[in-house]
Structures are given as structure tokens and as C-alpha cells.
Amino acid sequence: MPPRSLLTGRTFMEFSIPAYCALIAAMGVLAYMSAKRRAMHVAAGTVTNEISRSFHSRPNFHGVFAAGLVTLLAFGVMIGGVIAGLPGWLVIALIVVLAGLAFAYTRTTIRANFKARNVVEFAIKSGLVICSTIAVLTTIGIVLSLLFESLRFFKDVPVLDFLTGLQWSPQTALREDQAGQSGAFGAVPVFAGTFLVMLVAISIAAPTGLMIAMYLSEYASKRTRSIVKPAIEILAGVPTVVYGYFALLTVGPTIRSFAESLGASVPTQSAIAAGSVMGVMIIPFISSLSDDVINAVPQSLRDGSYALGATRSETMIKVVFGGALPGIIGALLLAVSRAIGETMIVVMAAGRAANLTANPFEAVTTVTVQIVALLTGDTEFDTAKTLSAFALGLVLFVITLILNVIALIIVRRYRERYD
């Protein structure tokens, strides 16, 4: 039971942190103004033409240095005090005393040769480095956990069986108490399903996206472009779950009833239903990125082509498109990796049966669908069934990583070409 404030009856934790912060901020501001003022005063007394003896840092750097030292120290005291559960008055007292000492110290540093600017620059640089390190470390942590859980899975199921097995039925395996036996964890149908859905999506999105890009960059007037481009980009902002039920409730049934009218039977959930809606979703990736790279093709190339008597479409197809091709391929690869990682649409509209098929009119399952299926509901996280989700995730991660790296390399090469 933490101690409570006599005044408000709340615990010191609840009541104090904002108050401490306000106090610290106020002290920081005071330290800044005071140190800056003092520095200006001192600097005024050391006017000289010799660089070696002149006042090194501008007054506001001294101010920032003082404020930074005071607030950092006070902040540390606050965190330590709160964690140790000290009473509020004691924390405040400690803050004031220690910050006061720090301030007193900064007073002594305000002189011509103290390099406050360098200290401040170093502190800013360190802060930035720390932030990016945190982001990188988080990524590494995620990858490592993916890796270790996968390794646990691969103890039960050999890697080769996982990567080449043609049968995927983790649920049955569990029921029959056969976890880890080869056959049940063959991931090929799952990846085949992912690939099939991706193929459907790309074969819809690539031509549409490219034609939109060509229209926008070569034919549309500035005005049209300024309206149409953002309008298409909205497609990318629609929540994927909305696409999901659109696929499940509209596209799937439409395809089924159309097939029925032709005498064929197609399930509501199918690779084509999920893939076509996903295709619509990734159109803006392709159209916007391609539009950018097409625009980056220098006008001088177009002029050169026109001057040879080429028409607009000849110029576009033979010169502009060729010039932009590496960038366009990069855009396509990014769209593909987006399609492979997409989850919500396929969960809702692709089905769950791990069919090994090349027929887009059948229900298929994808990596992401399986991961969702494996990890939702009451599960223990040490069975081969749940661990297999990590193995799937790892392979998926590696694939999209490779795609992204290739795409980025291509795009970079392309940039260099016109710089």
C-alpha cells in the first residue's frame, strides 16, 4: 500500500508525477534563462579579436547546457524517488537540492573557454543515436524471438519436412496425438496458397496500377492529377478489414453466383475472391510509386524523343517506360511483399483449407491465415502446433525481407542513374 497524500487522499504516485514534472520544467526554464543571461554578461567582458581567447560558445548554448544538466539530474532523482516509494516532500526536496547543486556547478562553467556548444551538440547527437538504437534493437529482438521459437519447432519437425512437406494439417496432428510427425506440418500448400492469392492480386493490380501511373504522369492535366492521385491513394487507407468483408460479402458471392449461372460451382471463399480484392487494395502502391518514378524520368529524354518525330505513346512506351522500368519493378516488388504479408482480407475471404492447387477458384489458405488460426483461441505455446506459427512467420519474414531488399536496391540504382 503506497503512502497517501494527507491533502488529497490519493497516493503520492498518482498525485505527484505531473507535479514533479512541472517543477522540473520550471527549474529547467529558470536555469536556461539565468545561465544565458550570465553568459551574455561574461561574454560582454571578454570582447577580443583573438579567436583562441574569445568566448567559445554563444550564450544560449550555455543556457541549454545548464537547463539540460538540471532537468536530467532532477528527472533521474524523480524516477529513483518514485520507484523507491519515497514520500512526495522528500522527492521534491531531493530534486530541489540536487538540481540546485547542478545549477551551482553550471555557474562555474560559464567562462570563455568552456565548450558548452560542443557538449550540447554531443548530447543532441547521443539522444538521436539512442532513439534509433532502440528501434533497431526492437527489430532485432523480434527477429530473435521469431528465430528461437522456430528453432524449438524445428526440434520437433525437421526443417526439410516443414519446407517440402505437401500436407498441412496441424489440428489433426494434435488431435491424434501425433505432434511432430512428418506430413502434418508440410508448409508447401500454405505457401502455395499465399503465392496463388498474391498472383491473382498482382495480375489485377499491376496492369491497372501501371496504366493509372502512365495516365497520371503523361496524359492527365495538372489539375486532374492533383485530384485523381490522392483519390486513388485513399484506397490504400481503407482499413483492410473493410476490404475483408467486401471480399467475403460482395465479391465472393458474386463470383459464386456468376459461376453457378455458367453451371460451375465455386465456393464463396476462394483465392480469386481474396486475391482480386487485395489487388484493388495494392493498386495505389503501384500507381503512386510508378507515377513518382515515371516523373523522375528527365523531361530532356521526352524532348529527345518528340524531336525525333515520336508520338506521345511511342515516347511513353519506348523511352519513358524503359527509363522508369527499374523503379517500376521496385514498386511491383514492394506491392508483392505487401500482398504476401496481408492478413485480414485472406482470413475473411480465402478460406482455411490447405489445398495444394493452382486453381484460383478454389479455397486456399495462406501463411497469415494459418498463423491467425494457430494462435487464436485457447492455446498453449509449447506445442508443435503453436510453435509452427513462428516457423511460418519466420519464413514469411525472410521472403518479404528479401523482396524489400531487392526492391530497394533496384530503386536506389535507378535513382543514381539520373542524379
Binding site: P298, S300, L301, R302, D303, G304, S305, Y306, A307, L308, G309, A310, T311, E314, K318, V319, G322, G323, R417
Partner: protein, 258 residues
């Protein structure tokens, strides 16, 4: 039509004006340009040389907001007539730009681009011959004959400029317009280019914009001096450089303005 019947006049211009979004950059120019010779356009930066040059192959059509008025005839034919297709005109009037702009294709494909579009070659052998002849005419053949498959963008600046000239020649135009073709080249590449222009004028009508007085004096037969959108003086090159009629021309040539 009398002036057009004269055999060695290629272009006749009457009161040509070019404006960008209503702002006039070329202000009513009358000029006649001779065939099989080099005509140089000189004048201070921004005086409308490029704008006027682009009149001859209707490249101004591709610039939004740009309007051209006046009567411009090539071999007596109005090149701004409503029914005339600028695409066909540009096959007859080639252009070389200030900055070499080879396509990101192989050297061969760069030169073959125009002939392919216009269906000038019946066979692969025909096309090979056109490419060969054009590169040879442009003085580039010996330097690139072993690497026709390499990218055109990998050549040096001077080679690129000769490559785009070869590309222009390959469609057998009648006229070649050059807008400061040597401004990105070193003296040696420039000298080569000038030799090339000297040869090309035997077959083509060449109009060249240049900022180099010496270059204009060396290679052109006639020189036109522009100033703020006006054609100030147009005469034999020797005349312009030794005994200009206008003070403004003299000032510019002596480097006193501009």
C-alpha cells in the same frame, strides 16, 4: 511566294511571335534561312533564341502555355497549317539539345530509335547500315564500333553529344536545329563537333544557337543577333563580326552588353 521559289531558301518567317502564358518572348521576327549552310543565332541570355529555334520543329507545341503565331514556311509549305502533323514535321527537322540526352538504351538502339519509329528500315541489315552510316557521319563510329550494345548513357559528354547527333541524322532529316550543342563540352570535343557541323552543312540546313562568338564566326555563314525578343541584325557572318550595322550588335560582340 517568290522567295520560296528560290532554291536555297529553307525557311521563311513572317512576323513570328512566341509567348508563354501571354508573355511575349519572341516579338515579331522576319527571317529567311538558307538551305545547306549554317545559320547562327546569337544574343544575350533570355533574348528568345531557344524559343525561336523551337518554332522550326514545333517543339513549342509540347510546352504548356506556349503559343506561336505568324507565318512560318518550310520549302514554301506552312508548317503551322491546321492539317499538318507536327510528328511528321519533326521527322524532317531534327534537333540537338544543349545537354546531351541519350536514351537509357544501348548505343545501337539510340541511333535505331528514329528509323524504327518511322519504319525506315526494311530489314535488320538495312537498320545496321543506317546505324553504321549515322555513327560514321557523326564521327563516333571508330570510338564505339566495338561496343554498340553498351548503354548510351555510359559515354563521355562529347561522345554523347555526337551520339544524339547520329540519332538525329539517322532519320535523314532536312534540317538540324542545335541549341548550344557545345556548351557542355571541352575544347577538344567542341573542335570535333565543329568539324562535324562543317561536314553536315553539305547535306543539311543547320541552325545553331551559340553563346560563343568565336564559334559563330568559325562555323556559320549567316548570323542573326537577337535582343529581348527582337531580331536586331541578320547578315553574312563576316559582315556581322567585322562591320555590324547596329550599335547593339557591336556592343554585344565586343562584350560590352549582355
Amino acid at each position: 511566294m517568290t522567295e520560296n521559289t528560290s532554291k536555297n531558301i529553307k525557311f521563311t518567317c513572317r512576323d513570328v511571335r512566341v509567348s508563354y502564358s501571354g508573355k511575349e518572348a519572341v516579338k515579331g521576327i522576319d527571317i529567311e534561312i538558307a538551305d545547306r549552310s549554317v545559320t547562327a543565332f546569337i544574343g544575350p541570355s533570355g533574348c528568345g533564341k531557344s524559343s525561336f529555334l523551337r518554332v522550326f520543329n514545333r517543339m513549342n507545341d509540347t510546352i504548356p502555355g506556349c503559343a506561336v503565331t505568324g507565318d512560318i514556311r518550310m520549302d514554301g509549305e506552312d508548317i503551322y497549317a491546321p492539317g499538318l502533323d507536327p510528328v511528321l514535321l519533326r521527322a524532317r527537322v531534327g534537333m540537338v539539345f544543349q545537354k546531351p540526352n541519350p536514351f537509357p538504351k544501348s548505343i545501337y538502339d539510340n541511333v535505331a530509335y528514329g528509323p524504327r519509329i518511322h519504319g525506315l528500315a526494311e530489314s535488320k541489315a538495312d537498320l545496321d547500315e543506317i546505324v553504321h552510316n549515322s555513327l560514321k557521319r557523326a564521327g563516333l563510329w571508330d570510338e564505339v564500333k566495338d561496343r554498340l550494345k553498351d548503354s548510351g548513357t555510359g559515354l563521355s559528354g562529347g561522345q554523347q553529344q555526337r551520339l544524339v547527333i547520329a540519332r538525329a541524322i539517322a532519320v535523314s532529316p532536312e534540317v538540324i536545329l542545335m541549341d548550344e550543342p557545345a556548351s557542355a563540352l571541352d575544347p577538344i570535343a567542341t573542335a570535333k563537333l565543329e568539324v562535324l557541323i562543317e561536314e553536315l552543312k553539305e547535306k543539311f540546313c543547320i541552325v545553331i544557337v551559340t553563346h560563343s562568338m568565336a564559334q559563330a564566326a568559325r562555323i556559320s555563314q549567316k548570323t542573326a543577333f537577337f535582343h529581348m525578343g527582337d531580331l536586331v541584325e541578320y547578315d553574312e557572318t563576316d559582315q556581322i563580326f567585322t562591320n555590324p550595322a547596329e550599335l547593339r550588335t557591336q556592343d554585344y560582340i565586343m562584350g560590352r552588353t549582355g
